[in-house]
């Protein structure tokens, strides 16, 4: 393969990773937009969801990569896995909000963030102590199809990732821009107090944000498993931090920002790993995180500078 070929191939890989980070980043952005809270629990909602997705597929009798499905069976089993994972992740998000964050509404300072760190730790260790520290072979019923497009190879699983991500993001966009609850969300994000006075049920908006964000994290988690063919209790931290970086890069609070930021982080990860060295990828990504916050804290699409108190 030529050098440009390698780079183009890394662009394809980066788009797949980026789609996953974008889905995960939306969860940070939705919650931040409404509560001004960085939800560290999101990291491990993602991780737990990847196990739920695994169990859902195993429930259908699929284990490992040996059993390949096609046609309706494939679509049905993947559809089932996505629906179950997203619903379960959404419910976990709602429970977290209801139990640990709603009582803290109105308590300023660092209390909310510290609580989400605690919740994240609990999720992490529940999986570690019950499932164990090993990494699990992820069930994957996708047949291996490859298409040679010029210098790059595109796999079926990548096409699937792009399609699912596009559908989910389009759905989210329609929900936020067209529905009544979506309008209430946008109003609450701008000014929670005013929205409350205009009759918006802010608690319901917050629950919706947690449900949607966590459900998208669930989709990202299943994508992670299908893409890498494994899952483990530690996947939440790295992927979560990258998605958080993506949300910040795009402008935290902005949904299109999270999407673009996710794609950019995916590309930076694969191209940075190719051009510099994989062991420095994390340093590159966290440096971007720090540099964006320091020099363009509003990110690419953010509306307000986050320096206000």
């Amino acid at each position: 393969m030529t050098e440009t070929g390698v780079l183009l191939q890394q662009v394809v890989n980066g788009l797949s990773l980026g789609a996953m980070y974008a889905l995960l980043a939306i969860g940070f952005t939705l919650v931040y937009g409404i509560l001004e809270l960085i939800n560290f629990a999101h990291f491990n909602v993602f991780m737990v969801a990847s196990f739920i997705g695994m169990w859902a597929l195993q429930l259908l009798g699929i284990s490992g990569q040996s059993r390949v499905l096609t046609g309706l069976a494939l679509a049905g089993s993947l559809g089932f896995a996505f629906v179950v994972t997203m619903a379960a992740a959404g419910v976990i998000g709602v429970v977290i909000e209801r139990v640990s964050l709603r009582p803290l509404r109105g308590v300023g300072g660092t209390a909310g963030m510290i609580t989400t760190i605690g919740v994240s730790y609990i999720l992490f260790n529940v999986i570690l102590l019950t499932v164990g520290a090993g990494s699990e072979n992820y069930p994957n019923p996708l047949p291996v199809h490859r298409w040679q497009l010029g210098q790059v190879v595109v796999e079926l699983k990548e096409v699937l990732i792009w399609a699912v991500s596009l559908i989910l993001m389009a759905g989210l966009h329609i929900f936020v821009s067209r529905t009544r609850l979506g309008k209430a969300m946008r109003a609450t994000a701008q000014d929670a107090e005013a929205a409350r006075m205009m009759g918006v049920d802010v608690d319901r908006v917050v629950v919706t944000a947690f449900f949607l964000g966590s459900a998208l994290a669930g989709a990202a988690a299943l994508i992670f498993g299908l893409y890498y063919n494994y899952t483990s209790f530690i996947i939440g931290y790295t992927a979560g931090l990258r998605a958080l970086t993506a949300a910040v890069l795009g402008g935290i609070g902005s949904i299109p920002g999270a999407m673009v930021g996710g794609l950019l982080i995916g590309l930076i990860e694969t191209l940075g790993g190719q051009l510099i060295a994989v062991r420095w990828t994390d340093v590159i990504i966290f440096s971007i995180l720090v540099l964006v916050l320091v020099f363009v804290p509003a990110g690419l699409f953010g509306r307000a500078a986050p320096t206000k108190s």
Binding site: E36, L37, I38, S100, P103, L104, V107, G109, T110, A111, M113, I114, T115, I117, G118, V119, S120, Y121, I122, L123, F124, N125, V126, L128, L129, Y237, L241, L244, T245, V248, R279, W280, D282, V283, F286, S287, L289, V290, L293, V294, P297, P306, T307, K308, S309
Partner: protein
């Protein structure tokens, strides 16, 4: 506050029969005065810490205790950043790593550059040794003393604290948390990827043990334990002294309300950096101690879980509470190394007894992180102040203390204010062409205003007319697009809020910005920030000058509180958040007066007060003016305006629509229209 309890204002309030009963029934301990009691407690604690290795000669336990002390030291450092200054630092272990690798590199066989004459002076100072190298030529062996490296590591970590902090500290708190998380990730990765200095993931080997008077500490735990005790004691004293000082008050003001802190003269960036640097220095010194004790260092020792563990310790013990975080750290370490082990053993026994397989093999120690997570959530939900809260609850006031007397005729005694009545006349504050816009909304348009020395100017206008924006622009909280503000002959547009205060302008806020979790007295003393001079050295060493300054500041603050009769004095040690609305307004005025201003900006000082209280406060404002203070006030109550102001300025939609004597303005048609609508003006 022993002095206050004996003051005549509060003494008669104590219900005699109740206190007699208490003295008779409570045990002997309660009869010892609190100050003596706390000294006794500290003495006993110190004695127990010193005797522990002698009474319990188990090397493994002493070793655990030494590790626990290292974490107590880290908790004390993070407490300065999170607890005092309110900055959530999620990458605190990075500074621990920096201190650890600094000593690791300076006292191991890792770095061995070739010998050259450059190293002669260091050799002479005994910092390096000359060894025959493997490749023939001589190499340098670093052997810097542990005792020398302790302060050097602290300084190095502090330097990194400033480097990391400087660009990020203007960010909002939660963004700062992400940036620190990023730095916390970067440092161990860099350590892993630079094997030349750190030996990468394999870890440093053969870090030299400390030596004292030629005796090497070796691998026995006891000497490390005593160094740990000394380190923690030093850091406790440092924390306590800083907390009680001007610096500590400035940190807590930033934590409670950054904007109000700036308006009261606190240089936010400087004090945040100071908190970051001192917190980092604690971690740096602790890192050196820890690596000397383990004699190795790997990147895994400094990852995110370590930062979280220290955070759990301070949340558990009590954020902002010095003794609390030490207790939190020690308890959690004990839980980890002793209690969970014992409990597991006990469960294994139980499992064998009742023949349950999983009970025989359960290892509770591996669930420590789960316990950490539960602690974080439970503490935040049910006990945010931690095991040992930073502030003690104050007893409720007696009826006598609560019954305030209305004072008429303004302040009786004003010597404490001493606003240097200046012989000069003419204008003190001159505003011209001031324009402020927020996005498309023009909040102020070409506003001009002259405040004569010793005058009282009232700014009135409907809600949203730009009155508070005018104050914000003058005090540097918003930056005007155009225009000039000249205070006593000096242009102040563009100055940060704390510099504006230093020019002699103090303000109150319409929506009250007291520091809610600080006492009334502390609130007022923060007002004095700019007029006091003590720095960190003075606070740490308790220099006579600093102590005198603190004593005078406290007396002056009490005298200012006493201006308001018995409304604030009995509550001096109460939290500002416990005050009534009217008393919060009074405390804000007292805080502003404490800065010794020449110009006082009062934003709706009588809002929320009843007519009697309003009259009382109006007369007090008048007497402030009579004593030489120049006053600008925003006020809706027109009788207050008429009784106080020499001159009235009317704003509407950000523009000045009228100006003049109160009675003239009152009849101005445009003013009536602005307030009451078009039909009222033409009725």
């Amino acid at each position: 506050m022993a002095e206050l309890e004996e003051s005549p204002a509060s003494a008669p309030a104590r219900p005699m029969s109740g206190s007699r009963l208490r003295v008779a029934t409570l045990p002997l301990v309660a009869r010892i005065p609190p100050r003596v009691r706390s000294r006794l407690a500290v003495g006993l604690l110190a004695l127990a810490a010193l005797l522990f290795p002698l009474l319990h000669a188990n090397d493994a336990d002493i070793d655990s205790a030494a590790n626990a002390l290292a974490f107590a030291a880290l908790a004390l450092g993070l407490n300065i950043v999170v607890g005092f200054a309110g900055l959530l630092d999620l990458g605190y272990a990075a500074f621990f790593a920096i201190g650890a690798y600094a000593y690791g590199a300076a006292a191991s066989f890792q770095l061995q550059p070739e010998w050259s004459s450059f190293w002669e002076p260091f050799h002479w100072l005994d910092l390096v040794a000359r060894l025959p190298g493997p490749a023939g030529g001589d190499v340098v062996h670093f052997q810097v003393s542990f005792w020398l490296m302790l302060p050097i590591s602290a300084a190095l970590a502090a330097l990194f604290g400033v480097l990391f902090g400087a660009p990020t500290l203007r960010l909002k708190g939660d963004y700062l948390a992400i940036v620190t998380l990023g730095f916390g990730e970067i440092v161990p990765i860099v350590a892993r990827n630079m094997p030349a200095v750190t030996n990468g993931a394999m870890g440093l080997n053969g870090v030299a043990a400390p030596q004292l008077f030629g005796y090497s500490f070796g691998i026995s735990a006891t000497p490390y334990y005593y160094v740990g005790v000394g380190l923690v004691a030093l850091l406790i004293v440092t924390s306590l002294r800083l907390k009680e000082s001007r610096i500590g008050r400035a940190w807590m003001a930033i934590r409670e309300d950054e904007i109000a802190a700036a308006a009261m003269g606190v240089n936010r960036v400087r004090y945040k950096l100071l908190a970051f640097a001192i917190g980092a220095a604690f971690a740096g010194a602790t890192g050196t101690f820890y690596v000397a004790k383990l004699q190795t260092a790997t990147p895994e020792m400094f990852m995110f879980p370590v930062s979280v563990m220290v955070l759990v310790m301070i949340v558990f013990g009590g954020i902002g509470s010095v003794w609390g975080v030490v207790v939190g750290a020690l308890l959690l370490q004990m839980l980890q190394s002793w209690f969970l082990e014992d409990l597991s053993q006990w469960l294994h026994g139980l499992g064998r007894l009742i023949d349950v397989a999983w009970l025989r093999h359960v290892e509770l120690a591996s669930s420590i992180e789960l316990i950490f997570g539960v602690i974080l959530v439970v503490m935040m939900l049910y006990r945010r102040q931690g095991l040992i809260p930073a502030t003690r609850p104050m007893p409720a006031l007696s009826l006598d203390q609560q019954a305030a007397q209305i004072q008429r005729g303004g302040f009786a005694t004003l010597p404490v204010i001493s606003p240097q009545p200046s012989p000069e006349t003419g204008s003190l504050l001159a505003i011209s062409g001031l324009t402020v816009s927020f996005g498309g909304l023009v909040a102020l348009r070409e506003v001009g205003l002259v405040v004569p020395r010793h005058g009282v100017v009232a700014v009135i206008g409907p809600n949203g007319s730009g009155k508070s924006t005018l104050f914000n622009a003058v005090t540097g909280l918003v930056t005007p697009d155009r225009g000039s503000v000249v205070m006593a002959g000096r242009e102040i547009v563009g100055l940060p809020p704390h510099r504006v205060l230093e020019c002699g302008i103090a303000r109150t806020f319409q929506n009250l910005r007291l520091f809610p979790n600080l006492t009334v007295l502390e609130n007022v003393m923060i007002g004095m920030h700019a007029r006091l001079a003590s720095g960190a050295a003075g606070a740490l060493l308790r220099l006579p000058r600093t102590r005198r300054e603190e004593e005078e500041a406290r007396e002056r603050a009490l005298a200012i509180l006493a201006l308001f009769g018995n409304r604030l004095v009995p509550r001096a040690e109460h939290l500002a958040s416990s005050l009534s609305y009217a008393n919060r307004r009074r405390t804000e005025i007292a805080r502003a007066l404490a800065s010794n201003p020449t110009l006082l900006l009062l934003d709706e000082p009588t809002a929320g007060m009843n007519p009697a209280e309003t009259l009382e406060l109006a007369e007090q404002i008048k007497s402030l003016n009579n004593s030489g203070l120049t006053i600008v006030l925003i006020e809706h109550k027109l009788d207050v305006v008429v009784s106080l102001a020499d001159q009235v300025v009317v704003l509407d939609h950000g523009e000045k629509i009228a100006e003049g004597r109160p009675e003239t303005v009152r009849n101005d048609e445009e003013v009536i229209r602005a307030y009451l609508g078009r039909s009222a003006a033409f009725a």
